[in-house]
């Protein structure tokens, strides 16, 4: 039999980590329990709701249906990595200003998905944002405010050119 644990090395929010994990360790549990980063939420645990969304090498993924061992060698970004030096990321700031959250459960996934949306298209239309965030469920039905927040953040980010930071 193969060893019962595997050694993985990966970067999370710019910080390198080396860890021993069971192969069955889900990435979301690794982030929350082993690295103490509970900002990534667990919802449906089968890839439907999107609250566990993180970026793997810049691409959004469901961390509840990804094994930690599959992220070996990867660069992971979570919601904890968005704010810089105590200052909220424009997306976080606009989510707050536009009240794009009520219970907040979907917010970490929405924010990370929004990062990917704006990295691919810094100037999306509201229709494009609505279509793209269909990957993530909000049960407080805040989609309208979320769309407005993403559009406002996009404008601010175009003005201040922080697109590169989001993608990393």
């Amino acid at each position: 039999m193969a060893p019962t644990t595997c050694t993985i090395s990966l970067t999370v929010n710019g910080r390198p980590h080396v860890a021993e994990v069971e192969p069955r360790r889900l990435l979301v549990d690794f982030l929350r329990e082993d690295l103490g980063l509970p900002g990534t939420h667990i919802g449906c645990e089968h890839g439907v709701c999107g609250t566990c969304t993180v970026l793997l090498n810049g691409a959004s993924i469901r961390s509840c249906i990804t094994l930690a061992v599959q992220a070996d060698g990867a660069d992971i970004s979570t919601v904890e990595g968005l704010a810089r030096g105590g200052e909220l990321h424009p997306l976080q700031d606009e989510f707050s200003a536009k009240q794009a959250l009520q219970c907040g459960y979907c917010t970490p996934g929405m924010l990370m998905r929004a990062c990917e949306i704006l990295a691919e298209n810094p100037d999306p239309t509201p229709e494009q944002v609505r279509s793209a965030i269909a990957s993530n469920l909000c049960r407080c039905t805040g989609y309208q405010f979320i769309t407005e927040a993403v559009i406002s953040a996009a404008a601010r980010m175009r003005a201040t050119d922080v697109t590169e930071e989001v993608a990393s």
Binding site: R25, H46, A59, S60, I65, T66, D72, A132
Partner: protein, 336 residues
């Protein structure tokens, strides 16, 4: 499972809160749900969903084939993107004792053209196929079908080979492979072989792959005409109740060649050969499309389930066949 397939017995019930609580406490114990015992300490509870398994991520295909043979007793599974397998393991509907992860094997991912064939590595991610200019030109049916599969975060991980080998009867890519007359290359202990898509899907979640074989490559003949992938799902991104892959080549106002595949009316995706015969040589109009759609569902007796009754599946299949044929004909006209 990123959506409920409905064809997996018990999956819908497994999604409930009670079963989730069991996952967190380790192996489900008979009667625990009924008695509601809560004596386990909650403070040190470790979040674990899938059952334990051994794992390897070999660097070569030969090693991967060897590991599958060596650990045959552990009922090993091949891990590609994991977007179907890991949800099943989270629910403990799949309990492989050994996972062979293909992620480190060079050469299993990529898109290339070999004459009139588009060759796609089994580990190629769906999002890469969706964005590929080569796919857009040589196999637009594939790109269009991928747009219906879940959402971007799932397509960023999910692979074409994983979807085909998983063989969910509601999935889009098996229908594409069938309609496009794809050939699927597999590697096993006895060497490599090619399997025609028409012989690949043997039942729900069952394929012609032998237990020790790994799907390595998908070979799609380039189609010269119009294409369409249309489906009905409760919401976009959910599993389709009915899906249609259509390829139509025209000769003036008539159909020269047609290929149609259909999901949702049988235990596997099916080629609608009777409908293809109706179309071939006939006028490319709505009346022909209607007769073809009727021919496609004649003799089919789908099982009704909580998603759709048998009659609804047949009605949807007819409607979406007519629509798919019309779109493919219109595109064939515009492209030629």
């Amino acid at each position: 499972m990123y959506q409920h397939a409905g064809v997996i017995p018990g999956l819908v019930h497994m999604a409930g809160d009670q079963s989730r609580r069991q996952h967190r406490k380790g192996r489900p114990v008979a009667g625990r749900r009924a008695t509601g015992r809560t004596e386990e300490p909650r403070t040190q509870e470790v979040a674990v969903k899938p059952p334990p398994f051994a794992y390897a991520a070999p660097a070569t295909l030969d090693e991967a084939v060897g590991l599958l043979a060596e650990h045959a007793e552990a009922e090993p599974r091949v891990l590609a993107g994991g977007q179907s397998l890991i949800p099943l393991m989270n629910f403990r509907l799949a309990k492989p004792g050994y996972l062979v992860d293909l992620r480190n094997i060079a050469g299993l991912s990529g898109i290339r053209r070999e004459g009139d064939t588009l060759v796609i590595g089994a580990m190629t991610r769906m999002s890469e196929l969706e964005r590929s200019p080569e796919v857009a030109v040589a196999a637009p049916l594939l790109a269009e079908a991928i747009g219906w599969i879940a959402h971007t975060p799932v397509r960023n991980r999910g692979t074409i080979g994983g979807s085909l080998a998983h063989a969910d009867p509601a999935a889009e890519l098996p229908a594409v492979a069938l309609a496009a007359d794809a050939e699927l290359a597999a590697a096993g202990p006895a060497g490599s072989r090619r399997i025609r898509a028409t012989e690949f899907f043997t039942g729900p979640f069952s394929t012609a792959l032998a237990p020790g074989e790994i799907l390595t490559e998908i070979r799609l003949p380039v189609w010269p005409g119009g294409h369409a992938f249309v489906e009905f799902a409760r919401t976009h991104g959910n599993f389709a109740v009915v899906g249609v892959a259509a390829l139509i080549e025209l000769d003036g106002g008539r159909v020269r060649r047609a290929a149609l595949a259909l999901t949702g009316v049988a235990p596997t995706p099916i080629r609608a050969t009777a409908a293809e015969q109706v179309l071939t040589g006939a006028a490319a109009d709505a009346a022909t499309a209607g007769r073809a759609a009727d021919a496609a569902v004649a003799g089919q007796s789908p099982a009704g389930d909580l998603h759709a009754s048998a009659q609804m599946r047949l009605d949807l299949a007819r409607a979406y066949l007519r629509r798919g044929i019309a779109v493919a004909v219109s595109r064939a006209r515009n492209e030629r």
